[in-house]
Subunit: 247 residues, 2 copies
């Protein structure tokens, strides 16, 4: 097994999800094999950051405004590399929009969340997808570009009001407050879809907090609620990390 | 806040517990303060080991038989130190019985589980305590000696059969199989106590897997079930790490 590095803490509940999914998938994988002693898990290094610091040091469109933020993530990736990890997974979608900047000087492969989700879309023949995420995710074209490679037309909530509503739900989920969140997400999706006039669309929970709202489905890569197909970015991304680990 | 290092993976479910307890205690601590942005959490490095390797390389009473095991843990502690952590907590009771050997050359303070539990006993005026743990814990005097400093007479299950029963329960909990475990632990305690002829005793869940059996009480440092006072080593130990972190 390869040693996995997880860049986490952004936020901490989704770091738990990634670590649990990888550990459980690994134990299922070995449970049918003839193993002496406890079922193996890969060695894992986790660098868990302080989300208060990263959030308060997000940049704007101004040149250099992301420098502190970029360095905070780049340093953590370097520590993972120094720990001897063979692959890295970032347990949060948001930093992927600045992957080029934060991975400067890192030679260990970083498993992209866009590629993991794009491959899943291809498998499920998804052609159009609403992406719900943090404000940086929904303000930059990175996710949309990442999906285009896989023939998927991705789009964000069409108004600022709807984007703000997504962000409010995420903020509560970060503090592990899950009550009513699933219902609110469903209503929000309905508003986005009717605003855009689309009849056929999947929904990507494109922020590692959002799947925490759907506790009954937290193990599934995708699931249907009230007629919409949801993709769970956490399960898809962490599942890819596990597959890379045992390859 | 100090940066925390967690030596984990032995096993992974208790590593999740330590990480969650520290993160949640930190968010509760800051929730009453005037904080801009998401509630802070400390920066945390986790080195998660492969329990299959450590289990299969446990030594015996033979000289040098623990060398590989000691080096495995010592190397992981060194990686935590290199990551710049200020304090270290080992998310498992078992390795504490070889703390002297595995902490060679480490200058970062390691928060002892014995001192955390001893202080809690003193606070709760506990004088006698049955310790349930892994076989290495129940075969070495380290836990008993650690408690004596705090005026607590600690003892292990009095027969090999009873010790084996504890180990079997732990093995299932490591794989997150919690069904019937609480009931079995309770019956086991009854057998130990009647065998020893003690009428007044507390019980230390002295292995980080065991508290996972009592899901309803997983947040409590101590709790009563069927007339016995149980101490949750995970909550007590992780709580101490949090206090050290904000000190």
């Amino acid at each position: 097994m390869k040693k996995i590095g997880i860049l986490g803490g952004i936020g901490w509940p989704s770091t738990v999800e990634y670590y649990q999914i990888i550990s459980q998938k690994c134990q299922s994988y070995y449970s049918s094999k003839n193993i002496s002693g406890p079922l193996p898990t890969p060695e894992i290094s986790i660098e868990s950051l302080n989300m208060n610091f990263s959030f308060n040091n997000r940049g704007s469109s101004e040149l250099g405004s992301w420098d502190l933020w970029d360095a905070y993530f780049n340093d953590a990736l370097k520590r993972l590399e120094n720990n001897g990890v063979d692959i890295i997974v970032i347990a949060s979608v948001t930093p992927h929009s600045r992957l080029t900047e934060i991975s400067k000087g890192i030679s260990v492969p970083i498993i992209s969340v866009y590629e993991a989700i794009g491959a899943e879309c291809k498998k499920q023949k998804i052609k159009r997808m609403l992406v719900l995420g943090t404000m940086p995710t929904m303000s930059t074209p990175a996710f949309i570009n990442g999906m285009r490679v896989f023939g998927v037309e991705a789009y964000y909530p069409p108004t600022n009001e709807l984007k703000e509503a997504v962000v409010n739900i995420i903020q509560r989920l970060y503090e592990n407050k899950t009550q009513d969140a699933a219902q609110e997400i469903n209503e929000l999706v309905l508003s986005c879809v009717s605003e855009m006039g689309f009849s056929n669309t999947a929904v990507c929970l494109g922020c590692t907090e959002l799947p925490l709202a759907f506790s009954g489905f937290s193990d599934n890569a995708s699931f249907s609620v009230e007629g919409y197909l949801y993709l769970n970015s956490t399960v898809i991304h962490a599942g890819n990390a596990f597959l890379e680990c045992i390859e």
